[in-house]
């Protein structure tokens, strides 16, 4: 009996299925020869990838295919990698069911090229410079550029960034080479340096720094000009003049007004620019920070239990006579309470939560996040004076943060302020009666759309609260479900294509504000709603 079953299963599994297709150039629909077609099982079936090459007519045939779900990827030099079911060139695809689907048509989009040269300020080509192709992205709602590809210039200063998917790009050049690479797992390298080098390893102290310069010639990412690449296009002569820029000093003194207290001999200095933080150790009271580029910073000093910070702006020269006043830090006790818990939703497990304090504005202040005891009590140690946003980590899934109170002041929206030893405890209230929103994402012709980013956006006044934004991807049947919503007024938007976090950016939102579906969420409510995807046409 078992043997028979086994035989039947074997027969069923090894059904001699054939799967075929044709690969065409997007636009002209000419066949693409010698493209590599990879078929990889995604469930059970045959998980080993099988690879074949298209014929002169752009055709391919896989024989002896086992029934199951497969991912199909087509690559060819000079074209953007294509996945079956993708919504845009290079986007994510969907699995193919064999034998339900027996034949497919794949369109390959020609990739684009950016080329140019990098020169120094004297007009000499810079060899071995790093050149990056970047795309816009968002970090905490702030626009930033993210690397897509990088290359290096040759001795003539020439570079080529190639096989790029069509779209908007920025180009950055850094004369400092990235060196010999790092632990990338597959590359292995052993270097024997010539002995003569040992006499040359002394570096000349430099008062300048290599910084990336973005096309057409700015060190400010936001001032860079994007290039629009069309399929198959080569954008030439993207030349950049790069070279070291003057690195400034910040000099000053650390002082304290705490009566009878002396400064420790060394201070830890933190220079935060919003996107990055630099740590340095310095003697006290006088400090001298080198290598500072123009920009706005928060400069903070920590000495044992004392700390302080100042906001500064560095222009193209040294900044002298900065005073950092430091004062004592304080321990804050508090308690987390959960309300509205039910058998259905008992609320979060206190033992798996941490209380996180983030300085406002963010300046890299680090306070050990405590885990509450079983009764919800906790203690934050050595909190410097300042304003802090309070959050819970990991983010709540089916509950919401309702209230954060220090003394009589509510800090849920704008944060709590510590000034001197706090007389009161920090009270954190979590409610298990969060709202839920579910529904479907529809396209132009009311068809359900999968893989669409669906985002819940709070009312304008509360957009500074990143924790109120929620986002999910629609399922294969176009459905979505958002849980843990704080009661309030929201807008719901769905994008076919959107940079992660772009919705946190007010500039970006202005364009789409009117497309949002207004939703009001109340405690414990569960709404069903339909939303039309932006970008389906």
């Amino acid at each position: 009996m078992n043997t028979l079953l086994f035989l039947l299963m074997t027969l069923f599994q090894t059904t001699d299925l054939t799967f075929s297709g044709v690969v065409l150039k997007a636009g002209s629909e000419e066949p693409v020869a010698r493209a590599t077609v990879e078929l990889r099982g995604t469930d059970g079936g045959d998980s080993r990838a099988r690879t074949i090459t298209t014929s002169n007519e752009g055709q391919f045939v896989f024989r002896n295919v086992t029934r199951g779900q497969y991912q199909l990827v087509v690559t060819r030099n000079g074209y953007v990698r294509a996945t079956y079911g993708e919504r845009r060139p290079g986007g994510p695809g969907v699995p193919i069911s064999v034998p339900e689907t027996a034949s497919v048509r794949i369109l390959l989009t020609p990739s684009a090229v950016i080329s140019g040269r990098i020169f120094d300020r004297q007009g000499q080509p810079i060899g071995n410079a790093t050149v990056q192709a970047l795309r816009r992205s968002y970090i905490q709602g702030r626009p930033a550029l993210a690397e897509v590809q990088s290359t290096m210039t040759n001795d003539l200063g020439e570079y080529r960034l190639f096989f790029l998917a069509p779209g908007k790009y920025y180009v950055g050049a850094n004369p400092g080479s990235r060196g010999m690479g790092g632990p990338d797992g597959t590359d292995s390298l052993r270097v024997f340096r010539a002995q003569r080098e040992s006499t040359r390893t002394q570096t000349v102290p430099r008062e300048d720094m290599d910084v990336p310069i973005y096309f057409p010639g700015t060190s400010d990412q936001l001032a860079a000009t994007p290039l629009e690449l069309k399929p198959g296009e080569e954008v030439r002569n993207i030349d950049i003049i790069a070279g070291p820029v003057r690195a400034n000093h910040i000099r000053g003194v650390i002082t304290t007004n705490e009566p009878g207290q002396r400064l420790e001999e060394r201070a830890s200095l933190r220079l935060g620019s919003g996107s990055s933080t630099r740590f340095t150790s310095s003697p006290t009271p006088n400090f001298d920070l080198t290598g500072v580029l123009p920009g706005r910073y928060t400069l903070a000093a920590t000495l044992g239990t004392m700390s302080g910070r100042v906001s500064i702006e560095v222009f193209d020269q040294d900044l002298n006579n900065v005073t950092i006043p430091v004062s004592n830090s304080f321990d804050i006790t508090g308690r987390v309470t959960i309300e509205g818990a039910s058998a259905e939703n008992p609320g979060p497990d206190l033992k798996s939560l941490r209380i996180v304090l983030r300085s406002e504005p963010e300046d890299g202040t680090s306070i050990d996040p405590p885990v509450p005891a079983a009764d919800g009590s906790f203690k934050l140690q050595l909190v410097p004076n300042g304003t802090y946003r309070v959050s819970l980590s990991p983010p709540l899934q089916t509950s919401y943060l309702k209230s954060v109170q220090l003394g009589n002041s509510e800090g849920i929206h704008s944060g709590i302020t510590v000034q001197g030893p706090p007389a009161d405890a920090l009270r954190i209230l979590v409610s298990a009666r969060a709202g839920t929103l579910q529904g479907r994402v529809l396209g132009e012709t009311k068809q359900p759309l999968r893989n669409v980013r669906t985002v819940l956006i709070p009312e304008t006044a509360l957009r500074g609260r990143v924790d109120l934004f929620k986002n999910v991807l629609s399922t294969t049947s176009g459905e979505f479900k958002i849980q843990g919503i704080t009661p309030g007024s929201y807008k719901l938007l769905a994008w076919q294509e959107v940079e992660n976090g772009a919705w946190l950016n007010s500039e970006f939102m202005r364009e789409f504000e009117e497309r949002g579906v207004p939703v009001v969420v109340t405690e414990g409510s569960s709404e069903t709603i339909e939303v039309h995807a932006i970008g389906d046409n």
Binding site: G127, S188, R200
Partner: protein
Amino acid sequence: MLILRAFILALLAQAGPAQTPTGSIEGIVVRAGTAEPIVGANVELTRLETASVTPDASGRPLQNAPSPTIFRAIAGDGGKFLLRNLPEGRYRLVATRAGGSMMPAEYGQRDSRSRGTPFALADGQNLSGIRLSMVPTGSIAGRVWDADQDPVPNARVLALEPVYENGRRRLNTVQAVRTNDQGDYRLFWLPPGRYYVGVMREDNRAFSFVVHVTPPDQFGRREDASSPAMKERVLDDGRTIEETAVLVYYGGGTNEQMAQAVDVLPGTTVAAVDVALQTDVVQSRRVKGLITGSDGQPAAGALVRLIPMQTAPHAILPRGVADKQGAFTVAGVIPGSYLLVASVGSTDGWNFNEGLFDVGNGSSKTSRIEVADRDIENLSIALQPAMTLTGRLRVEGSTPANWSVTQARISLVRDPNLLGLPNAQGLGASRALQRPNGTPADDGTFVYAGLGQGDYRVHVGAIPSTAYVKAIQFGTVDALRNGLRLEKAPESPLEIVLDLNGGSLEGVTVSERSEPLSNATVVLVPDVPARSATHLYRTGASDGSGTFEIRGIAPGRYKVFAWESVPKDIWQDSEYLREFEAQGTSLNFTDGGRQQARVTAISTGRP
């Protein structure tokens, strides 16, 4: 912020003594073979401290060696430089230029790739008229095609040069770049000389190739490796085979012997060095088996690497990881001899400084396998815990005042030292002792932990220049001559005897016209029966007046040779040496014996 000064500025790197010294050096920096000044060249003057200790196995100078005093200037108008306020002493003088368009130039240099000579500056001496000639670098450019006449993008292109190791010539990577979308590449900032070009396809699905371009003032040698670039192919009979890309040479297919040389002249580009990839894929095999740990249980997560025994400019290192049952598959194995290294629970990973893997306190197994025309199945591998070797360094003769036995460094180097073999060199494995591996205590005892099975050579570094290694005994094995084979936990200690009373040779190198010749390479070669004993070779260079001194010579019969200019270690190649055998002078050293010689330098007419 580059300011070219109208005149010259000397920067004192360190504060001078109380009374300002008055020595000076003045000269110009020009492009070699021309009078064209190189404005903006960096001129660096290094005051030498007396070095009486040899470096360790990796060539690193002693950690506690004082950092030399460096004086700097920038060549101004007319390429002129002036270094002032110099104390008396011995110096080296080098000019470099930012970027890589020029080779560094050193005072007393014979050609752009060799070292110059130190020179003396007396108290208050004003040395003028120095001319430092900088040689421009060159480049090689070309295109890589496939069998369909399509350009091959993202292929790895290597500039290779011959080096000599234990008497064997091999090609080593100088630079690695990759082709662009048009299949074009450009190897640049190359020191003038003879090169070979190698090309290898990369697996563009797992693409992670790093470009290595080294400015010419930092040149060294590098060994390069990658994972196999594999592809499946369906044969006409329906069978699927795996193929792996191998290195192809310009002009010579996959055969290193047939590779065509490319001569790069100063300041020139050799263009159209095109390579067609037609025979670069070979059918590769799989190696499968089961790994058990030293506890007899399946060694889940064990890493298996196959390291080719045949050295190549670019090593292809296939690897695999054992699953929960201890089963592993290594794909992409090209037929040949391999060392299979399995390891688990170690500090296994990337050691960037050495580019090597450590076994650490995990376990490992090294075995030799031959892969021919079929897959290898059912290998059974039992891991063994990492081994610890103890030993003692004993010193004969009187110890110099500035040296103690604790400064010596004992290294165990794999033999052959193949890229990818686990190596415990950088390991502070004798953690309980708070000492790095191979660091002797006051009584000379040392520990070397984290060793896997295999063959090793013992190197004793950071010893006085008068010293030589007299004996290395491991049980009944003469490890100085035969090396060390570790198969199981060692039962006997490693006994090393260092004799501080080595022989010495003083002399002068002269030209064929019997005039003193500066900056010649002097090599003391052991007599024929001991030619393969690389530890007996001694080298030196004559100074500005042609005199030289070699110390730390082991007793025995030698021949001394001198060359005007010669590639490093080529004298270990018996083929090369045969041509000059008659020009060597025979010498016999007893323990502590002192000899003198006048050696006529061989002029080979080429660098």
